[in-house]
């Protein structure tokens, strides 16, 4: 790191401390939480209607529509359509989308509706437009808001009541969380990716390891990641129980932001970068907890169970519940293996799958698609396997098409679809049938998450691509072009 650190501050502070401190409107007391200012509020169709209804019932307006932006992503169809055309969405999904449009029109909130060239998954579009910047506070009624922490922003998911609070006041009532340093040293081997880092962190620390904490990812392996890879890591902070996960901004961050629609320009850019360079945690800043991981020891990871903590190296064997450290874990593992129809000691390599899903706010950015396409070029999706490729935004889709990636996927027999959450959450028609197995680049393998009765193996885009080609769970390192 060559960025200058602040030496004026008497007590060394973390990136989190600095960002939190800069947004305190009213300090926390034993009786009351802090009033924390929100710089950017992202809104989508699923978690906002009741908040707007609440606002209306109290006769309130939106305080800062100019700090708020809405998109349609969760329940939107991803069936291919002509550019700029607007699909007709029926049923409850259609009603919910129409309600968002009405709410945005009534309260003056900018909306990226279906048909807009920038529509996409809420956590893909913020960074893409340059709205996500270091040192900001960013919230959304969505737990994967942690994604934006990749820029050194304090970003976390909130409930619908809190969405209403932010709409009305641009503020939230918050108790200051504890901090946890997640240090990832060493270098990743080829074929091992950012997704494998975060799956390994969660497998090591558990799905509640970060409860009450904000993560700061650091170390050589994190510094070496691109912005899109950093977003993949921060995205799944919530799967480790942490509401937020941050990475100190550096030149990688600034290069990514520069020139985007909402990025500062000219002198304002220079001033912004100078400020952002003060954000990284000071030397000697203390964390409530520190955990470490060695990236050079990592293999591609895959989950075998029904929460994201039930993960292992792809060449390992399904663990035996009878070896679990306590009754609770034994029971959880028993239940998970029953749901997944897997046996203790079984290898996952070579396991047949029905579906491969490449998408979601974890892994649907252009670099994810490039990685998968590079492996799939000139190869075909295995007989009997359905592969969905769902870009995270319309912009990602255009870019991929300009690079000919869509042609690679299509030629391989994969479905090239429109931007949205799709089979990550199965709120539209993109879903697994009961009993089907899927390798998925998304973030949750909970029972039924990808469709009632569906069984999910979470993995990286490379693992997904390799598995699509062979039809069985495959270690991408064995088939790199």
């Amino acid at each position: 790191m060559t960025s200058p650190r602040s030496t004026l501050s008497p007590t060394p502070r973390t990136l989190f401390d600095k960002t939190w401190g800069a947004h305190v409107v009213r300090p926390e007391t034993p009786a009351t939480p802090a009033v924390l200012y929100v710089d950017l509020h992202l809104v989508h169709e699923v978690t906002s209607p009741q908040a707007f209804a609440g606002l209306r019932a109290r006769g309130r307006t939106v305080r800062r529509a100019d700090r708020t932006i809405a998109t349609m992503d969760h329940s939107t169809p991803t069936i291919p359509r002509a550019r700029g055309s607007i699909p007709v969405v029926g049923g409850d999904q259609g009603a919910q989308l129409a309600q968002l449009a009405r709410n945005c029109a009534e309260f003056g909130i900018p909306l990226l509706a279906l048909g807009n060239d920038r529509q996409g998954i809420v956590h893909v579009i913020g960074p893409e437009m340059g709205l996500t910047q270091p040192g900001m506070t960013i919230v959304c009624g969505d737990s994967h808001t942690s994604t934006h922490g990749a820029f050194g922003a304090l970003a976390f998911g909130i409930g619908t009541s809190e969405v209403e609070h932010v709409l009305a006041t641009q503020c939230l009532l918050q108790r200051k969380p504890r901090t946890m340093a997640v240090r990832v040293d060493g270098r990743l081997h080829p074929g091992v990716s950012a997704k494998d880092i975060i799956l390994a962190v969660i497998a090591q620390e558990g799905v509640d390891g970060g409860t009450g904490h904000v993560f700061e990812y650091m170390g050589e392996a994190i510094r070496a990641l691109s912005m899109e890879e950093r977003m993949t890591v921060c995205n799944m902070s919530i799967e480790g129980g942490a509401r937020a996960g941050l990475i100190a901004p550096d030149d990688t961050t600034f290069e990514y932001i520069a020139g985007r629609p909402a990025a500062p320009e000219g002198a304002a850019w220079d001033a912004a970068v100078a400020e952002w360079r003060q954000l990284p945690s000071d030397d000697g800043a203390s964390f409530d907890r520190t955990v470490t991981l060695d990236a050079s020891q990592l293999a591609p990871m895959i989950t075998y169970g029904t929460n994201p903590g039930m993960g292992m190296p792809i060449d390992a064997r399904v663990p035996d519940p009878s070896a679990a450290p306590d009754a609770g874990r034994r029971q959880a593992l028993d239940k998970a293996l029953h749901y997944m129809d897997l046996r203790p000691g079984e290898p996952l390599l070579g396991k047949r799958v029905d579906v491969v899903f490449l998408g979601s706010c974890t892994n649907s950015r252009i670099s994810d698609l490039r990685q998968a396409a590079a492996l799939m070029r000139g190869r075909a999706v295995a007989q009997g396997v359905r592969m969905l490729v769902v870009p995270g935004s319309q912009q990602v889709k255009r870019q991929a098409e300009a690079e000919g990636l869509d042609a690679v996927f299509r030629a391989a027999g994969a479905e090239w679809r429109e931007a949205g959450c799709s089979m990550c959450i199965a709120m539209n028609d993109d879903r697994l049938a009961p009993g089907q197995y899927a390798v998925s680049t998304s973030n949750r393998n909970f029972e039924g998450r990808q469709g009632k009765g569906g069984r999910t193996f979470l993995a990286s885009p490379l693992t997904a691509a390799a598995t699509a080609i062979t039809g069985v769970i495959t270690d991408a390192r064995t088939m790199v072009h």
Binding site: V25, L112, G130, I158, V207, T211
Partner: protein, 227 residues
């Protein structure tokens, strides 16, 4: 069953912004049922396919839908919410890390819709705990020893009653022992008096304006291509 929660409907009880207060929660005694699993995620509490609603109500029937109904939509008789004792239950007892996963407030809405007023667990995921408190659903985290006694009592007598006292932050178990539980002071104050957090937040208006004057911020969402 004795319910000492009262409606805070007097003329003088108002939120700071003048809006009406909700039912106060002080202390109640009610039957409890056991759903002994750890890491129960919000996708189980309320599956995503029911999130297309624009209301908070009507989700009680969908609570734990995938565990509760078979492929034909018929109640599975062995699932706890389908047993007779669940009909009057107001307290759900689970394992650790209850409510992990998605931030959907539909999870507490569904639990409240079913009739639950408290969830007792070893501990809770952060966002769920916040969401629950905002809907008058008490997240009661008790220690391992008390949890073990509670599980033993409810295994022996499904639907046995517990008393939850928010003012004292104690829970009385069916075996007569008691356990304490933590509650954020501010959330407790709001629940005990029936006021909501937005009412309080609105009183910070002058401070918010002062903050905004000193922090113009770098981004505007208008003009980035949205309509």
């Amino acid at each position: 069953m004795t319910l000492t929660a009262e409606r805070g409907g007097s003329e003088t009880a108002r939120n700071a912004d003048g809006s009406e207060v909700r039912a106060r929660i002080v202390r109640f005694t009610a039957p409890a049922v056991l759903l002994l699993a750890n890491d129960i995620d919000t996708d189980q509490i309320i599956p995503a396919r029911y999130l297309t609603t624009t209301d908070k109500t009507g989700l009680g029937d969908k609570l734990f839908s995938d565990w509760r109904y078979d492929a034909n939509g018929q109640p599975k008789p062995d699932f706890v919410l389908n047993r007779p004792e669940a009909r009057t239950a107001q307290v759900l007892v689970a394992g650790y890390n209850f409510g992990c996963g998605s931030s959907r407030e539909h999870a507490p809405w569904a639990l409240v819709g079913f009739g639950f007023r408290a969830v007792v667990a070893r501990d809770f995921a952060d966002i769920f705990r916040n969401n629950a408190l905002k809907n008058g659903l008490l997240p009661v985290a008790i220690d391992a020893a008390a949890h073990e006694r509670l599980v033993a009592s409810l295994t022996a007598t499904p639907g046995a009653s517990v008393t939850i006292d928010l003012a004292d932050q104690t829970m009385t178990l069916p075996d007569g022992t008691s356990a304490s539980f933590p509650v954020d002071t501010f959330a407790q104050h709001c629940l005990l008096s029936g006021i909501d957090e937005l009412g309080y937040l609105l009183t910070a208006d002058a401070d918010i304006r002062a903050y905004e004057a000193g922090h113009p911020g770098r981004i505007r969402t208008s003009g980035v291509g949205a309509s």
